[in-house]
């Protein structure tokens, strides 16, 4: 069942236009589906014969569900594809599943367009369809060089809406990043950064096997790639929330009158957004042999959907007041849970926050989302006995204070340990001496 839109989770098979045993041509409509007020024809991703129909007319299934198998004509499939398919023994081989992501594609096309994030981003920024680019990599994959020379040859057919990076910045810079021009080595990197295969394990009696849904699949792939790309290091600091607690208590009524609840997370987001301009590498990312320093602070904020997780982005956090951030967090979290976020609201983060503390965890070691250099994990805020100094007498005393452990995960390629320590120390100072007029 193809994904026909961001907010579409399921579709109903209206009608099979082809029956089992029928020959189908590539791009020939083979079924009609219906979602909400929309009917859509789904074209065949490949020429061949329809050998199995899994979903009957009238049945409603989730996006990503396999609805049919097509037995491709001999020779129609490039050999590497056959090999891939043959490694999954319970499928009729060499079959193509009519599952199709954004738009039904042939196997060759899917393989070709399974490119590195860099290639995909370049394609996106230039409005180029990867499928149109002749690929020279393994199985015809499109390498960075392929797409860059394609863009140089034909130019960009259309410019998408501007993202937080000026669209011509990468095109001006990226070609400078030297790429080895021949053979096996670049292909290895393409595969390493672009492909994820989860190894399979034997099923034991009584076990339940369920396919991962779309969000889970994307999360799994992202986590593997993110950890593969960035050498992760984590540093932890303890932060006193006594002052913030007092500010919250003093302003709670006033903020509520203005229709907002300002959470601890809002305070942290505010403080990070003010500091990050002084730490361009923390608010940046490695891109090829360059570092991109983001011009604004866009804070991604992990929201637990239980099951699953989504990371809405507060664009331009550095331009918002504390109250504005508080409102935005509630708005985004609410719409994340009701699955009402627009695509641009989950893209373009320059830094992320995650809050394992909400369920009592003391400290987490979060994975840095790809395309960024750091993520801050906020642990549970609890009352703890701490040693304080009496400002008048200078003697030590034990006091009860609200405190939390914060862990910063950072990409050690561009953020040194001392940078992270300075950032955390500044963050501690700003939060513990939080300005009244933020």
């Amino acid at each position: 069942m193809p994904q026909m839109g961001e907010s579409i989770v399921e579709g109903t098979v209206l009608k099979w236009l082809k029956q089992v045993g029928d020959a189908v041509k590539r791009d020939e409509p083979i079924l009609e589906i219906s979602t909400d007020k929309v009917d859509a024809e789904i074209p065949s991703p490949q020429s061949g014969m329809l050998v199995e129909v899994r979903i009957k007319e009238g049945e409603t299934v989730e996006v990503g569900t396999i609805v049919a198998y097509i037995d491709t004509e001999p020779g129609a499939v490039a050999s590497p594809v056959t090999a891939d398919e043959a490694s999954e023994p319970d499928k009729p081989t060499p079959s193509v599943d009519v599952e199709a992501s954004a738009l039904p594609m042939s196997v060759e096309e899917r393989l070709r367009t399974r490119s590195t994030p860099v290639v995909r981003r370049i394609a996106e920024e230039h409005g180029v369809s990867i499928g149109d680019v002749p690929g020279t990599g393994a199985a015809g994959r499109v390498t960075k060089q392929d797409i860059l020379s394609y863009i140089e040859d034909v130019g960009s057919p259309s410019r998408p809406a501007p993202s937080d990076v000026a669209p011509d910045v990468p095109s001006r810079r990226l070609p400078q990043a030297p790429t080895p021009s021949v053979g096996a080595v670049p292909d290895l990197w393409v595969a390493f950064y672009g492909e994820v295969q989860h190894p399979e394990f034997p099923v034991r009696e009584g076990d339940v096997v369920e396919p991962m849904d779309k969000i889970r699949q994307l999360t799994a792939e992202h986590m593997v790639v993110a950890k593969r790309i960035a050498p992760h290091v984590h540093s932890v600091i303890e932060i006193d929330f006594s002052r913030i607690d007092r500010i919250r208590a003093q302003n709670k009524v006033r903020w509520e009158e203005q229709g907002a609840r300002v959470s601890y997370t809002a305070f942290v987001a505010w403080a990070c957004s003010r500091l990050l301009h002084s730490y361009p590498n923390v608010n940046g990312t490695v891109s090829g042999n360059n570092v991109i320093h983001r011009s604004s602070v866009n804070i991604g904020m992990a929201v637990d959907l239980d099951p699953g997780l989504i990371v809405p982005v507060i664009h331009g956090t550095d331009d918002l007041s504390l109250l504005g951030i508080g409102k935005k967090i509630i708005d985004l979290a609410t719409r994340a849970r009701s699955r009402k976020l627009a695509p641009n609201e989950i893209q373009g983060a320059s830094f992320s926050l995650t809050n394992p503390g909400v369920l009592g965890t003391l400290v987490g070691m979060p994975i840095i989302p790809k395309g960024t250099a750091a993520i801050l994990g906020t642990g549970a805020i609890e009352k703890r006995p701490v040693v304080v100094q009496d400002p008048l007498t200078g003697t030590d005393a034990i006091a009860i204070r609200k405190r939390a452990l914060f862990s910063l995960g950072y990409d050690h390629r561009i953020v040194d340990g001392a940078d992270a320590a300075r950032f955390l120390a500044d963050l501690k100072e700003l939060l513990e001496d939080f300005p009244e007029d933020a």
Binding site: D36, V38, D39, E41, S158
Partner: protein, 236 residues
């Protein structure tokens, strides 16, 4: 190699003002234009027209939502057709401005929900320029004025992300015809028209420029040539 004068990314829009045209004829025209748009032989199209009295059943229709029996339909001169668009039963007739956009959604809108919301946006923009405030209602596709339905939306996306079918805005529709159906399968929904809202008569023709402008704005298209009323010329 074929000439592809209007690639997918072409942001041009050709508007065809077809006047009163039968449902079957419009269907054939759409099917032809979908093919031509897919072949990049034409720019995006917006067909604006009126239908003679007809009840259409979308693929989500329940037969019991057609209230008028055969004899009654015969008496009122209403056809009944099953059609390949999403949604439930609806009525078309004179005084209703029907819009069938034939767009290639591939370059900028591969999201059918977004497309539905954009069509609603076109109607809301049109109504605004006529002095009527239209709204969306959560989980009820269409455009509403104070809880009364003024426009219906139901679309089809053909192979290659080419759209057909579209929207129907009641301009000066004789609303009594809606009693022959349960509109869109929603019980006790009240239907309204621009004329009823403004309290004065208004011709469908007078709304065409407003719809064209709103459409071009919402979809970021530039209208090419003069609105043509030729349905046949391009079909030769």
């Amino acid at each position: 190699m074929h000439l592809r004068p209007y690639p997918s990314e072409s942001m041009e829009l050709q508007v065809r003002n077809l006047g009163l045209i039968s449902y079957a004829e419009a269907l054939a025209l759409q099917s032809d234009l979908v093919q031509r748009r897919r072949d990049c032989a034409l720019p995006d199209q917006l067909l604006l027209l009126e239908h003679p009295h007809v009840i259409t059943m979308g693929t989500g229709s329940r037969p019991e939502h057609v209230l008028a029996n055969a004899a009654e339909r015969e008496r009122l001169g209403i056809d009944l057709l099953e059609v390949g668009r999403g949604g439930d039963v609806t009525y078309h007739g004179p005084g209703q401005l029907v819009g069938y956009p034939i767009l290639d959604l591939k370059p900028d809108r591969k999201d059918v929900h977004r497309y539905l919301r954009d069509l609603e946006g076109v109607i809301i923009g049109t109504l605004r320029s006529l002095g009527v405030t239209g709204d969306r209602v959560k989980a009820k596709t269409g455009v509403w004025v104070d809880g009364r339905k003024i426009a219906a939306v139901g679309v089809r996306v053909s192979s290659g992300w080419i759209t057909s079918h579209g929207f129907a805005l009641n301009v000066s529709t004789d609303l009594s015809y809606f009693r022959t159906i349960v509109p869109c399968g929603l019980d006790d929904v009240r239907i309204t028209s621009v004329s009823s809202e403004l309290g004065q008569p208004l011709a469908v023709e007078e709304v065409v420029p407003a719809v064209t402008n709103a459409f071009a704005e919402v979809f970021g298209r530039s209208v090419v040539g003069k609105p043509t009323n030729a349905s046949k010329i391009a079909l030769s």
